[in-house]
Symmetry: C2
Subunit: 462 residues, 2 copies
């Protein structure tokens, strides 16, 4: 295969313009107000797959948002790559912290991105990274360089738990049959330090409600004499970690995979500057489980974080009230071998147990997913590694990510294939945050690297 | 003086209708959207005082909402009673918990109020109780039964800290000169157990902000590796009470007045059913400082309660975010001798001290006020006691309230006079809560009792 660079140079402005059009549509799956936009986005993906060379593309309806399926089958005897991505995005709030509106994409230069970065919700997660695959396919079909079969499965509910995708996968095992799954929905260590994600954390997401008195009360007349649901919730949340920041839920760590000293030493070789990390977040110290480094804390260790809390009077000024109810959204990131159903059950039972007399507690599971690991001796990993080496001039580092793509473990279970996580984003891309962006260099580098994966994967499977 | 009852019987429908008109105006001082309504209410109070027989009434402008001042001076040599009340009300939220709109008053019968109760925000606190004094004045002037001088000072910022009233009082000592101050803004033990409030708790109200990373972060990529401001805030709040529910702020209890065993035994005689209390609030247990009874916990002991908390994603569904900031509104109820400025400073310093590395903490004081005690041998207390005996047929019980009327200690300091707290509300009136109401029996009983206070107070001062 010849260099992909000339084609990219000739077409890069169009590649950027097409992505910007996609980013203009607020495909927020969590908020039903954006239903039409989510559906419009699905149609745009369908059209883009057709234009990129798929022989067959269809919108597969589900009970929620549709899945866009596309394929180009060139020879049954050749291997098949299944590309997964998502066209939905996270809610953009808090809106006031965005420097430009989240659905009016702008290109700005930054220190890390002197070539410019596209600022918009979904720029990196996952419209930008998903669209790299569409453009890589365009390259391969237009240049007659597609060496194997390819299938696309792009969903619209990744940010809300992929419930309908699970059903779709279970019901379409044959249609989705493949030799390897390829996903770009993760990051790499740095622009000059390519890496491939070999592990994902699982997730258990729950909502809790603490009810005290049956109505809001005057804090002067009742304060100190009845359980205040907010104070109680704070105490319950606080008790979920001990002084060493270990999680106190009984049984929580029972199945946690403990890495060997060698594996931890290997991990510690990845370039990392604690000073730069703190500076980027404007914090004076990191914080986490005792006995583990920052990189270990957010990859090989399970965690518990409150993602939202509310109760009582939160408006302007003061109100002397004891609220009847207080709420929190809590998520746990899990590591391989922790089963999210089991952890959700452990959390629920523990949280109900620690409720003091005087309050009632309700725990509602939201969604979750299992963790996942790709062995670095898998042929797909080796092909990806060689592809990065080709375009970056360096062997990529295998790394565990702290994030979760719950569907990946389901793919393994239902489709019996491993997933290769070729992410081209950076930690600083602010995904799920205001001012999400994706470097144009990264976007084009992804488009350049992906065709080499197809080439090497096909060769290695020959 | 003859019985007040016949006059009340002849006029009660008008008394109720007039109060209902007043309750229709949403005079919410905490929310600037209601500015016009608050000002309209001040005008209505002015008109009502003129109609009730004041010789001189004026709207006294302040930097905030105006104070309505009225007087009827009959003889310089006779004693002067200063009536204080407020025409502003608490915000009505949460609106969805009201059975009828908060500013569309309705009369409903309840178990405790077979004669009917008026349901509306401000029905008891304080429009209803304040208006009893206007109607008692009407009775006394129309029947030629006013035995002394009277002044009214009705403010519109009690629910937001009475900041401008403080300035007004300091600047108008002569105009406000009096022999006793009379307030109805508290409750009594039960309809058949009259009581006079002899103590009020002080208040310190603060807002806290915990900042972690400089932006919202993806909880998968950063979870477990940086301080989560919500988890940290929960931990900090939890640490403010120990296992016995004592407040842990160093120095907090240093000046707390400890009651003698005799005084506590006297308090314990007040009728109280813990079962009824729990049933009314639908709780299975009370909760509070070890070593004290429920009635002690909410009257003679200081407390610390979170009145509101918020941070992160609080919308529908799930968002896996580590918030940059978390907030809480916290109030402390104080007992006599605890200085609110000092307690606010102790809180601020302690809360800043306990912040772990990795977060920044900001404490903003909102407002506060000192506690207050009326001695039961004061002539005003004795006159009030005799008035209740006259109309209830029982000697009232002196009781400490858990609530705060911060301005009362300022009155003592600036005007050198004691305040008599003749409250006619009940604990079940749901002040500051949805479905606030005021019993018609209580309203009319207040109008009946107040003129006797004037009579006995004047006689005892002769």
């Amino acid at each position: 295969m010849q260099s992909v660079k000339p084609y990219i140079n000739d077409n890069k402005n169009r590649f950027i313009t097409e992505l910007i059009e996609l980013l203009k549509i607020p495909s927020i799956s969590a908020d039903s107000a954006y239903k039409t936009d989510v559906l419009t986005t699905a149609d745009m993906i369908k059209t883009s797959l057709e234009k990129a060379g798929c022989d067959h593309v269809e919108i597969c309806e589900t009970e929620g948002y549709p899945i866009v399926y596309g394929e180009k089958m060139i020879d049954k005897n050749l291997p098949t790559v299944l590309v997964y991505g998502h066209y939905d995005v996270q809610p953009p709030d808090p809106l006031n912290l965005w420097n430009s509106p989240p659905f009016e994409p702008v290109i700005q230069n930054t220190d890390l991105h002197p070539e410019g970065a596209i600022f918009a919700r979904g720029a990196c997660d996952d419209k930008g990274q998903m669209y790299m695959h569409v453009k890589a396919l365009e390259y391969m079909t237009s240049q007659n360089e597609l060496p194997c079969n390819v299938k696309f499965m792009i969903e619209g509910e990744e940010e809300v738990g992929s419930v309908n995708l699970s059903k779709f996968v279970k019901a379409n095992r044959e249609k989705l049959a493949n030799d390897v799954i390829l996903i770009s929905d993760t990051g790499m260590i740095a622009k000059d330090v390519p890496s491939i994600t070999t592990g994902l954390r699982g997730l258990s997401y729950v909502e809790v409600e603490v009810t005290g008195p049956n109505r809001d009360l005057h804090s002067g007349l009742y304060g100190g004499a009845v359980a205040n649901p907010i104070n109680v919730l704070a105490k319950m949340i606080a008790s979920l970690h001990d002084d060493n920041n270990h999680i106190t839920i009984p049984g929580f760590y029972d199945k946690v995979e403990e890495l060997s000293a060698e594996e931890r030493a290997e991990m510690a070789k990845a370039p990392f500057s604690l000073e730069d990390y703190k500076k980027a977040l404007d914090i004076d110290a990191v914080y986490g489980e005792k006995g583990y480094s920052t990189n270990e804390r957010n990859s090989i260790r399970p965690t518990l974080d409150v993602n939202g809390i509310w109760g009582g009077y939160t408006g302007e000024g003061a109100k002397t009230v004891i609220a009847s109810k207080a709420y929190a959204k809590i998520s746990m990131r899990l590591v391989p071998h922790q089963d999210w159903h089991e952890i959700t059950a452990l959390f629920k039972s523990h949280f109900e147990n620690i409720a003091p007399a005087g309050v009632k507690v309700k725990v509602t599971p939201h969604h979750g997913g299992q963790g996942y690991v790709t062995p670095i001796n898998h042929v797909g990993y080796k092909a990806a590694s060689k592809a990065y080496e080709q375009t970056f001039g360096k062997v990529p580092i295998p790394q565990r990510s702290g994030g979760s793509i719950p569907i990946v473990s389901l793919f393994e279970q239902e489709l019996n294939s491993k997933t290769i996580l070729m992410g081209f984003g950076l930690d600083s891309d602010a995904i799920h945050s205001p001012n999400e962006h994706f470097g144009i260099w990264n976007y084009l580098k992804g488009i350049e690297t992906i065709p080499w994966f197809y080439k090497y994967f096909t060769e290695m499977n020959a």
